[in-house]
Assembly symmetry: C2
């Protein structure tokens, strides 16, 4: 009883799916669904392979009403750069939510994950950043630093962009790329404090284990999206900052408690705000967002299976009647 399965490579996906308003809407819808209830999203499956300096995470989510559900596998092998290979990799498999049969295999090497992660940053910026952002800042200099700023620029078209990274050359390369792509004034700063204090919108995209952003740098009219922490032990924002902010919101509280900035604040014993709201609750109006330009807001994004299911379903819808990819009868 063979059926058709569409196998699509990273290069093919890059040809048809890019970061734009449509993808941001798809991811916003995923968070709405998460807040609407009925979503089933098991804890992340995680396997650390210390002797090869590798790890692998598996995420999934079932969203009622969606035609499919994705299983997303993200390996990270941190000795790869020595071999001239990227550390991060992986694929998404889309299954029919009616029959469980494989519909598509996206051999994306993490590209769709990059997109859905950046899109979540845009959703957070859309709901939490002040209406007018003159200056945006990004902490971190990798692929996601670039994508986060491109995504943020779609919803808050800032004129000035600051970049900070531990490696000045990497920071300059990131700034140059973004200056070219976004056509805005872009500058590398020497100290992350300078960046935070001068920006209305900051995105942190690092694997930091000691917080980079200090609470004392927070100021009115600031929104920070922290998207680097996705594991126990990672921490980009000083725990006191979460207390000092007028509003802290998580993509998924159950994950942020274990893997996000919220974990560090709880571990520090200073978290006193009870159960925080989730991004989807703000999108759907169940919880409040920014109340005035003067407020300080923080969004803690750990990355959720609903984003994977949403982007995989969306891409499959777009491709299913076309000729992109290889159709295999299995």
């Amino acid at each position: 009883m063979a059926h058709d399965i569409r196998v699509v490579t990273e290069a093919e996906l890059r040809g048809v799916v890019t970061l734009n308003k449509e993808i941001i809407r798809v991811i916003e819808k995923a968070f709405s669904a998460l807040s609407d209830g009925g979503v089933i999203m098991p804890p992340v499956m995680s396997m650390e392979m210390a002797d090869v300096n590798g790890e692998v995470d598996v995420k999934t989510a079932y969203i009622p009403g969606f035609d499919g559900f994705a299983i997303k596998v993200s390996p990270g092998f941190f000795d790869n750069p020595k071999l001239g290979l990227p550390s991060l990799n992986g694929l998404m498999v889309l299954f029919s939510a009616t029959t469980g049969m494989v519909q598509a295999v996206f051999l994306d090497n993490g590209y769709l994950t990059d997109l859905r992660t950046a899109a979540a940053g845009a959703v957070a910026a859309h709901h939490f950043a002040p209406d007018v952002v003159h200056t945006a800042g990004v902490i971190g200099t990798g692929v996601q630093a670039r994508l986060q700023m491109k995504a943020a620029h779609i919803v808050r078209p800032f004129q000035r962009l600051l970049v900070w990274g531990r490696d000045a050359a990497h920071a300059q390369a990131c700034a140059d790329d973004l200056a070219r792509d976004l056509k805005c004034e872009t500058r590398v700063v020497e100290h992350p404090g300078d960046l935070v204090m001068a920006s209305q919108l900051v995105v942190t995209t690092t694997p930091a284990r000691d917080p980079i952003v200090k609470a004392r740098w927070l100021h009115p009219e600031l929104h920070i999206t922290a998207m680097g922490s996705d594991q126990d032990g990672k921490n980009e924002i000083e725990p006191e900052a979460l207390i000092k902010a007028d509003l802290y919101v998580a993509d998924r509280v159950a994950q942020a408690e274990k893997l996000g900035e919220l974990r560090s604040a709880m571990a520090a014993g200073i978290w006193d705000k009870g159960t925080p709201p989730e991004l989807g609750q703000v999108i759907t109006g169940r919880s409040r967002g920014r109340r005035s330009d003067a407020e300080i807001t923080i969004a803690d994004l750990t990355g959720t299976g609903v984003q994977d299911t949403a982007i995989a379903t969306h891409v499959f819808e777009r491709l299913k009647n076309g000729t992109t990819g290889t159709v295999i009868s299995a």
Copy 2:
């Protein structure tokens, strides 16, 4: 930085991989490795989608020294038969254990799972059944009932085979298939007690939630392999039987406690044997197996990620220089 990924369908796999001594040795080696230590095997990721009568399980394991690790996804959608489709499906993805990059996608619809499950039954029969098995019995009438008997016949070439199932027509079809394939005297019995009492080797392959095999049917020179239970709530063997047996062994204690026959015995409050041995410990001589023909033994197989990693790595080794499948550069 595209790399080659081999995509292989069920039909292609069936052409090159079948149940034989080699596959049984591969699975035996997997259990040895599990006992040797260093294996990393996270708990099964499980997602139940009640509103579509579906579920999906994800298994994986890292075995030091193996070139790859598999992520295996097994959806079960139990309304599929109404659509003329099989309930069980799925695929295995093999990743390099050095770089984390995808090496192969086996679109096997569960075929490799069927093989590795049957092979585990043969490994259990090899280590626990009496040296001479005249009569084997299988409870259940599906794909796995057939495969378990074929696998058992490889290690214990019995002359007589009994089959019992709730549906007499299904039982007859299963018996007819096995009579043809194994060329042994095969008979459907009306009552599972008749089957257990007359056999030296019994395999249970059902999704039963009320135990089928009663403790009072146990007799000297009997080995039972229970492979149906793989979920909280499933139970094929009366809990008292696990106490009555001279030896109870699990494929993985941590799983059997949650998903296997051991779970039911513990839930019944009658388990008094402490931590039972694992199959791999018996294979490697760390724990004792059957001590005499007269003993009664029970093996509780819940299905482990090491089996998936072992069979996927083995199949990839066999295929990697050949032309089977479709090679996609991604």
